[in-house]
Amino acid sequence: MAAEDLPSEFDVVILGTGLAESVAAAAFSRVGQRVLHVDRRSYYAANWASFTFNGLLNWIQQYHVNELQDWSSLLEDGEEVIYLSNPDTASIKNLQVFCFTSEEDEKEEEASSSTPTNAAEDHNINADEEAVKESSETESAGNTVTNLLVAIDCIISEHSILYNPCNSPENVPDTARVSKTGSYFYLRLMYSRGSLVDLLIKSNVSRYAEFKNVTRILTYRQGKVEQVPCSRADVFASRQLSVVEKRKLMRFLTSCMEETEEQMAYHGRPYSEFLRDQQLGDNLEHFILHSIAMVTEHTLTEEGLASTRNFLQCLGRYGNTPFLFPVYGLGEIPQCFCRMCAVFGGIYCLRHSVSCLLVDKDTNRCKAVIDSRGQRISCSHFVVEEGYVGPERKRVATPPRFISRAVLITDSSVLSSNSDQQVSLVTIPPIAAGCAAVRMVELSSSTMTCMPGTYLVHLTCQSSGSAYEDLSPLVSRIFCTPDSPDQGNTQNCPSVLWCLYFNITDGSGLETEGHDLPSNVYMCSGPDGGLSHENAIKQAEAIFSKILPDEDFCPPAPNPEDIIYDGDATASAEGEDKEGEDKEGEKENQDKLEEAVLTEETVQTATATSTLPSG
């Protein structure tokens, strides 16, 4: 696997493998642009990556100083240099790990009703202001699901081992042991409709990924976790709603699908007020506001209604709730787009970066980049993940925005049901004035993220303080931890076996305009507060249409059955649909796709509709 040299000229060079960069890479490559896509990390998907905890700890620990090398010898006349920086600097901070395992052997289940003496130790690693992280050769192993499975395995089978590192005197977690615990570092759900889903389907990238549905929606209210009835079946089956409430809810949900004059009258006023005036009662008001619309007390009626409709429209598309998540985590999605880019000729290099841009002083355009090996690579356009661009060149919201996250491993579900394979989304309204609403996702072992008998729980909110400050009060209420107020009352609460808190930069803090960059350099932001992937898709599409206004954005890739190798080089050119000459052909292709979907189960005979070059 000897290292080869890269070509020295590309149309588009892309640095960073986050969602927006990867979508852009696929789009450019798909229409015949020569794309070089690199990332200094050893794994795909940047801050969208799904990690094992092992990977995360490695990541935090492997900081070392970024030596700036002097590449000025490679400059040509009239050029100046912009140095790039490390994307991981300051994107994560306040990482804290806690471990609560009982001193008793786990076999002694009967004893579990008495709250065991718990041990907790706080490992506080402050990652911000640190210098550079360099990925080790083997670190990519941290991304694998195999690892993850092994990992979670060990929580159970090696309970006492997990317990040890937490009590060990040294302040840094013993990676060799903690590495046995794994969990998705960044979990995101998707609405079953929306730009990302549309794009996945339109481009045929969807064939690379598998999804599951969130099976139920819960909410936390008056100290209790309750199920939110959202489909017709749920409503009828619900035991906590009275017959009158059921009728009211059905009527409301049906009526809000259409715009009425009554609704118009509430425009500009809070949705909560509109709901109150519908005489729905507290129960229903709570469900609709917090769990269906998922908005706050202050959200305006028009926005609340739009959210409610969106929820209802997503319902039933793939399952009983409007939410999907990719099996193996959202980190798969950027990888899928990268594969699409590669399939159309894009070149991929991980552990490879761009150290600086060479800018023509007269035109203020980036003419070339110098890669981390000191090779000069010319390009017409350069797309870069926000994190690589130094703070002095970009405009971000002040103060910088962060997201607070917690990841827990627990021993039972927050709401037991007849199935132990639920995947639940829990909406939690602010627990006190001034607090943020929290979204919680609880995954069972059916998601292949944890061992049978354990649950993996993610909590997310906008930061006001550190993740620990923002989320631990809630965690100690819903779960049984040593901080839980009412120890006698917590028998029914799930126990937290292990938890992690951290803050991560909120991608929505990046301004769209006003950066001090050459005119052919485009910046993409990382994941935002978790409200939508819309942003990433829009960024990619905007960059694409700025550079290639007349090209189609991610047209469907041909079906495997339609590809034939053709030795005859002359014949191959005409079949390429990238000329965009006939919309007819495109349409045909589209029809083919629909057909393929419908007849998925039948054997397809190879048809020679799209001939691709083989030479």
Binding site: A209, K212, V235, L253, T254, R339, S446, S614
Partner: protein, 195 residues
């Protein structure tokens, strides 16, 4: 009617050993010395009978991402089998085989069927890798072993037949799918019942 079973197969091995050529030979019975790395194929398919089942191979090529050691973990997900290819005329490509095996252990599914293919066996006169050594290595990791020539269509069908045979038959065809699904254009036909 025979049940069709889709089996994802991924190909591994250094650039230039003939991975794409093997797929091309198997799927289209075609060989081209200047095969383009860019074929726009997400994967290629071919269906072959195996006992009471039809095996529809979905063959994923690396799309060149192996060149700079940047294969994505998603490449391995859900593979029923992996073919690790080396070039019998390049000792290097055999030595890195172990690296690919390790990579597969790390990223691939646990119960994956592994086949090792020594390609370009039409070039026996400039052979650098003795068949015996390769065979012993394959045995040591319980992998299928075969020497192939994509150029002369030698043992290509056989390679995939061997894989087919090692795939355990489905106990109960109904149970196969766990509840994950692919997103498709046609919305799920289930009654749209949003209240």
């Amino acid at each position: 009617k025979m049940a069709i079973r889709e089996l994802k197969v991924c190909l591994l091995g250094d650039t230039g050993v003939g991975k794409s050529s093997i797929v091309c030979r198997f799927v289209q019975d075609h060989f081209d010395h200047n095969i383009s790395p860019t074929i726009g194929a997400s994967f290629l398919t071919k269906t072959v009978p195996c006992g009471h089942e039809l095996h529809k191979f979905l063959i994923w090529d690396t799309a060149g991402q192996e060149r700079f050691h940047s294969l994505a973990p998603m490449y391995y997900r859900g593979s029923a089998a992996a073919v690790i290819v080396y070039d019998i005329t390049k000792l290097d490509s055999f030595q890195t085989l172990k690296k690919w095996v390790k990579e597969l252990k790390e990223h691939g599914p646990e119960d994956i069927v592994v086949a090792i293919a020594g390609n370009k066996n039409d070039l026996g006169d400039i052979r650098e890798v003795p068949m015996k050594e390769a065979k012993e290595f394959a045995e040591s990791i319980a992998a299928i072993f075969i020497e192939t020539s994509a150029r002369n269509a030698v043992n290509i069908e056989e390679l995939f037949q061997k894989i087919s045979k090692q795939i355990p038959p489905l106990e109960n065809p109904e149970v196969e799918s766990n509840d994950s699904f692919k997103l498709t254009r046609a919305p799920a036909p289930s009654t749209r019942r949003c209240c």
